[in-house]
Symmetry: C2
């Protein structure tokens, strides 16, 4: 028997998100990096975090590896498990944003509908989708984790780009061509986006 969830009263926190943002001296936001395996999402997210941290910004990177081992360790890689994975990450990122943190997520997140679920969890402007664009040939050539090789050998049936589709973002807040520019150029583009949106301020 599943008992329905009808006895819930929202508890208003005394300390608000705005209070936490004021303490941290910057706004919070979700930077949602998406792209193929090997497109540089995690590398870019961690490099942006490093840059922001050195500016005094409170940050955290959620990626497929650390979340998959914990919060989502019960989930596999079927379509429905991937959807639930992204939903939980969206909820997690939402709470971290409430906590006043710039939260960077680095997940393939291949389906438009799943990314839209995450986007719609938070107020407009709180979700910035950053598409790490890179041809699959380049990703496969890099093959840092050896996953493309395994996928080609049929050992990972639902691997994105081979056994399962990647749906390119239709209207992302930023496209980063990770194969055409250096890592620091890519970082610069993300930082510029944050400044343009008034989320952080560059102080001389």
């Amino acid at each position: 028997m599943k008992i329905k969830n009808t006895n819930i009263i929202w508890h208003h926190a005394n300390v608000s998100r705005a209070d936490r943002e004021a303490l941290h001296a910057h706004k919070s936001v979700i930077l949602w990096f998406t792209g193929l395996s090997g497109s540089g999402k995690s590398t870019l997210a961690h490099a942006v975090e490093d840059y922001l941290h050195k500016m005094g910004v409170s940050t955290y990177v959620l990626d497929g590896d650390n979340v998959r081992q914990g919060l989502c360790s019960d989930l596999g890689f079927t379509d429905s498990d991937r959807t639930e994975n992204i939903r939980r990450i969206g909820e997690l990122a939402k709470l971290m944003t409430e906590a006043g943190i710039i939260t960077l997520t680095a997940f393939i997140s291949p389906f438009i509908s799943d990314r839209d679920i995450a986007r719609k969890l938070v107020p407009s402007g709180d979700f910035l989708e950053i598409y790490c664009s890179c041809p699959i040939e380049t990703c496969e050539q890099r093959d840092v984790k050896g996953l493309y090789k395994k996928a080609r050998a049929g050992q990972i049936p639902l691997f994105t780009g081979i056994g399962s589709p990647y749906q390119v973002p239709e209207n992302p807040e930023l496209i980063v061509n990770t194969h055409e520019q250096t890592l620091s150029e890519s970082v610069e583009h993300v930082i510029k986006l944050l400044v343009q949106r008034g989320l952080i301020k560059i102080v001389d």
Copy 2:
């Protein structure tokens, strides 16, 4: 088909928890408040958060209401759903602690085994269990949310303390007798615990 989760490599963040703690100028920790419905967990957690925030500490309160509406909205109140609920909250609190935040959780969390699962997710000393001790008669008299009334009327079959047991912590880091002291006395006890553990410093 559920595909097993064997293709995961842990991604080491460039920015570490210690870096984030240094930025925030305090250590991070989980304060796990447990007790009956109406025992004052949420009130105390929010009051402690308010106190810490005014000290310049980065904080966040997870409670049954905000988590139940989001991350755990797919879960009900059966034993197995409660266990999964607490597991996810533990994982969430762990990530927030990694992010350098003092994370306060305010959940009935009635089962010793579930609280132990959450405790074991993090290094020793990162999980401080705070038992909000209050006789069920007092909780029922308060009945802020009208839940005891509903439970007595048989409308909430697995309500903790009536249709489902509450297992008192055997060895919590702190016991707060919420019915015998004022809210500010209770807050003071929690703050004292944090200072004793070297997690925060009181600066004159």
